[in-house]
Amino acid sequence: MREPGHTVVQSTREDVRIAYLAALAIVIHIAETALPSPLPGIKPGLANIVTVVVLCRFGWRAAAWVGLLRVLVGSLLVGTFLSPTFFLSAAGALAAVLALGLSDRLPGVGPIGHSVLASLAHMAAQFAVAYQLFVPHPAMLRLLPVLMSAALAFGLVNGLIAARMSAVAHARSTAADPDELPTCAPQR
């Protein structure tokens, strides 16, 4: 008998799936912190490949969970939680998730478009926060074109990887279950 007033939180299949996918993204995120970076603010953002694939296969809600959980848990594990890096990262992730919400509604957009749009939004938000909170100096603006070029390049590369991954994942799941819903991958 359950006492009145107590609620038992049941984890759904979707919760478990999000936890698995977020864990994958977090591992990639942490592995990436070991990579040297030529300029502060520039890194490949390989964990976002996971977010884009999740968007294509499980929709925006799941992608938003994975993207935001990654930043939160990643910062706790790396030890940057509530540090300036964390706020930059959180602003970027939030903007990227919102951008994915937008691109998910646009027609004919696949992983490459999602990835590029999210990457640019991530960099723009990060830059805005850095500029407003940390270094409000006009010379910072000179850095913006370089940062956005890097965001575009890495967004493209990650998008290509995500496209390949979701195509493979789609082919596998349709082989197992022909009624599987189509993913956002190839649309014209």
Binding site: G108, I112, G113, G155, P186, Q187
Partner: protein, 120 residues
């Protein structure tokens, strides 16, 4: 693998990045005028193409401003650290020299200033 929406997004992104280079990496234009402020009020506005020396009376004395060859500098000022004189020759619009003790600000203005305002 690449949809039409992807192409549109990538092209827009390329245009955006190119626009950023054009907008943020073009050098500032040379200024055409210099405006001289004392205690927050604009006192003089001189064209940069007329050479002249101007004495500006500020809070603690006289600052001498020199305009020559389309440039302007503070030649003499009573402040103890001479910060505004160390700013040297100013030419691009938006550049400025500030004599804080004397409350004199010399700023080059022009058709395309590099920045609207600067905050520290």
């Amino acid at each position: 693998m690449i949809g039409r929406g992807d192409c549109v997004i990538v092209l827009c992104a390329l245009a955006l990045v190119a626009g950023l280079y054009l907008g943020l990496w073009t050098p500032a234009g040379h200024g055409t005028e210099v405006s001289i402020w004392v205690a927050g009020e604009e006192r003089h506005r001189l064209p940069l193409n007329e050479d002249r020396l101007l004495d500006v009376t500020g809070a603690i004395g006289i600052s001498t401003v020199e305009v020559r060859d389309g440039r302007v500098r503070v030649l003499k000022s009573p402040g103890p650290y001479q910060v505004c004189m160390r700013a040297g020759w100013l030419r691009d619009s938006g550049e400025s020299a500030v004599c804080l003790p004397n409350q004199v600000v010399v700023q080059v203005t022009g058709p395309n200033p590099r920045f609207d305002s600067i905050n520290f």
